[in-house]
């Protein structure tokens, strides 16, 4: 009896010892700077200036009253509301198709995964050429088929949707890969059992077996995609700089502008705290839901 208690204690100690370095690093590199940001968000600190004073929650009040930031939050929400569902459903559809193609599966997997591996900044430059208002391939094609040319990146009513399209293009490959991985874990005998019960093809097969079995993967993909869409930055920085007239400003880009162009660290920190809250909320939701599923399923 006593032997096994001592054993348990030793194992606990070893576990603690092994987890400690990572926990320490996490505290040093993540929690410490984050709490620094929290502190800064309560001051009027300006980048590089010698001092700062406490102003309480004023930055948060300014943030909520600022039209620019409200527009930026709205754009982010709209962008996420388009990109997340489209890239998830499209990826699911493609993954099921790819799984069914058999020998060509590897080829299609590579094709759809390519955008993920390419450097986004270089790709964004390629998009700039493709979407050029007068010589771009898309506009040449539009003109050839008798349609009006469009200013995809400089028309305020179009620019955000153009970025959303590029966002889907970029996001879909990664999601396909996750779904393909999920599909490969579904046991074959489930399909056989379903076939015996009459669900042997098409929609019924998908609805009875594939979809329920993919639920955990789908949940994971949804959370990851949501986090990645609300953190969109590169395409804005390379293609539009948040313009025209703020039409493509999104949270992370606004945050960057506030901190490193306007030097308003206080306001930027307040924005960062809110952003952190949203992302942390999504992650916690993910863990809670996952936990519940694995306990019941």
């Amino acid at each position: 009896m006593t032997g096994s208690t001592a054993d348990l204690r030793a194992r606990r100690r070893a576990g603690l010892l092994l987890a400690a370095p990572a926990a320490l690093l996490l505290a040093l590199l993540l929690f410490l700077p984050s709490s620094g940001v929290l502190v800064l968000s309560l001051t009027d600190y300006r980048f590089g200036m010698p001092g700062a004073s406490w102003i309480g929650l004023e930055n948060y009040a300014r943030m909520l009253a600022d039209d620019r930031i409200r527009q930026s939050l709205g754009n982010t929400a709209l962008y996420a509301a388009i990109v997340a569902p489209v890239s998830i459903l499209l990826a699911l559809w493609l993954a099921v198709l790819i799984e069914a193609t058999g020998r060509l599966g590897g080829f299609f997997r590579t094709v759809f995964f390519l955008p993920v591996t390419a450097t986004l900044v270089a790709m964004a430059t390629a998009w700039e050429v493709v979407l050029h208002p007068s010589f771009g391939m898309v506009n040449v094609a539009l003109a050839a088929s008798g349609l009006e040319k469009e200013r995809f990146l400089s028309d305020p009513s179009l620019a955000l949707y153009t970025l959303a399209f590029i966002g889907v293009w970029k996001m879909v490959g990664y999601n396909v890969l996750l779904f393909v991985a999920g599909l490969s874990t579904i046991p074959k005998d489930l399909y056989e059992a379903a076939a015996i019960d009459g669900a042997d093809r098409g929609w019924s097969r998908f609805a009875m077996v594939t979809w329920p079995m993919l639920a955990p993967v789908t949940l994971f993909v949804t959370v990851i995609t949501l986090i990645r869409t609300v953190s969109e930055f590169e395409t804005i920085a390379v293609l539009t700089n948040g313009g025209p007239n703020g039409a493509t400003e999104m949270v992370l880009y606004t945050l960057y502008q506030e901190a490193f162009r306007y030097f308003d660290i206080g306001l930027a920190s307040a924005l960062a705290v809110c952003f952190l809250g949203i992302v942390a909320g999504a992650s916690i939701l993910n863990i809670v839901l996952f936990d519940r599923r694995s306990r019941h399923g």
Partner: protein
């Protein structure tokens, strides 16, 4: 045998002699913006080191633009390793002074006759804050009108006598625009900050803040100047496309008039490469006494150590001197900041061969310095102006509305009192 010993001894002695020389050498780190300037910035450093063997110049990798350069220098300063010499966008000079990163040049300029060295009071004013000299202008430019001479002629204009008022210019642009569906009449670049908007105000004889502290956009003349940008689109055929797209269209021969900094002249020469005839003309005016905006970078000394400061001062004087300025002009399209560079020994023959490059220098007498907004929100105001230009271009507001919106917005961003 003997000879070898002798050689060795000689080598040893010369090494000993060289050592104290090397120890005396001063090394300066220099930081500037714009990667495409790296070549000529290095060129100046090389020429300087040749003339001053005791000073070594180390170039840091350039920043992508003025804003990021400033961010980097502030960060380096906080870490205690700021460069010794920094080329700051002259509209951002105040940001350095507000952070006590840069000292006035009074100690170094004492007893030096700057006028005799070719620096005009106007040139020196470009890098002063409230009359105090914080740096020397390293490059300088004004916006000019670029034109496609063939399109101008086709539309009934005369490239030798380009219009001098905005009314005539817009009318010419409209005629060019009517030449065909693929031809754009004009493009007035909105720029990356409020510089080009400042130019419109200057064309109307205004500074962004008038002498009695009024915001120019709130005045009737200021609103009219801003209204020009609307007329460019409504009457002159300008389309709301990004600057790069307009530049490409110019190179392809499909744009009549293009307005931007003279610094673009060099890429025009390489890109158009004689495929069609083009030239530059002075910036049109809205009123008789209309000026132009001017801008550029200021060279400032961030080093505190007196020896490094003295060496850096030598570098500033060299870089802004006639020889280096001639080299800069020929490599960029900027205009010289030193009068000495204009003579027949320097830029005279070059300008005779390249008349398009001289326009900017010709309108120097009516140039306004790059206006810096007082207080902490200069960059934010710049962005507000830029956004309002974009809203006008995209028909989201009309110019009158834009002028009153801007006035309200700027009022809130200016320091109180």
């Amino acid at each position: 045998m003997h000879r070898r010993h002798f050689t060795l001894a000689l080598a040893g002695t010369s090494a000993l002699l060289a050592a104290p020389l090397a120890a005396q050498e001063t090394t300066l780190t220099v930081y500037h913006a714009w990667p495409h300037h790296a070549e000529w910035q290095q060129g100046i450093a090389d020429r300087f080191m040749e003339a001053h063997p005791d000073i070594r110049i180390e170039m840091q990798a350039p920043s992508p633009d003025y804003d990021e350069g400033l961010v980097t220098v502030i960060r380096q300063d906080m870490a205690g390793n700021a460069p010794d010499v920094f080329m700051v966008g002259s509209h951002l000079l105040r940001e350095l002074a507000a952070r006590d990163m840069v000292e006035p040049l009074d100690d170094l300029m004492e007893g030096v006759d700057m006028g005799a060295m070719g620096y005009t009071p106007e040139a020196l004013a470009l890098t002063q804050i409230d009359g105090v000299q914080y740096g020397l202008p390293w490059t300088s430019s004004t916006p000019v009108m670029f034109y496609n001479a063939e399109l101008v002629r086709e539309a009934g204009g005369d490239p030798e006598n380009m219009p001098e008022t905005w009314d005539e210019t817009i009318a010419l642009a409209a005629d060019i625009d009517a030449l065909g569906p693929d031809i754009m009449g004009m493009y007035y670049a909105p720029g990356d900050d409020d510089w080009m908007a400042q130019n419109l105000l200057a064309n109307a004889g205004l500074q962004p803040l008038t002498e009695d502290g009024e915001i120019a956009f709130s005045t009737e003349e200021g609103a009219e100047a801003l209204g020009l940008f609307e007329r460019f689109h409504d009457e002159g055929g300008q389309e709301a496309v990004p600057n790069d797209a307009a530049r490409q269209q110019m190179y392809a021969g499909g744009l009549g008039l293009y307005f931007n900094s003279t610094a673009a002249v060099r890429s025009f020469e390489t890109e158009i490469d004689g495929r069609f005839e083009w030239g530059t003309a002075q910036m049109p005016r809205l009123v008789e006494e209309g000026g132009v905006a001017s801008g550029g970078m200021a060279a400032v000394i961030l080093a505190d150590d007196p020896k490094a400061r003295a060496a850096a001062w030598e570098y500033l004087l060299y870089g802004t001197g006639p020889e280096a300025q001639t080299y800069i002009v020929e490599n960029t399209g900027y205009m010289p900041v030193n009068e000495g560079a204009l003579g027949p020994d320097h830029l005279g023959p070059f300008y005779a061969d390249h008349p398009a490059w001289e326009t900017s220098a010709e309108q120097l007498s009516r140039a306004y310095p790059w206006f810096a907004w007082p207080g902490q929100n200069g960059v934010r105001i710049s962005q507000a102006v830029l956004d309002e230009l974009s809203a006008i271009a995209n028909d989201q507001v009309d110019a009158g509305e834009a002028a009153s919106q801007l006035t309200d917005e700027i009022e809130q961003l200016l320091p109180e009192g």
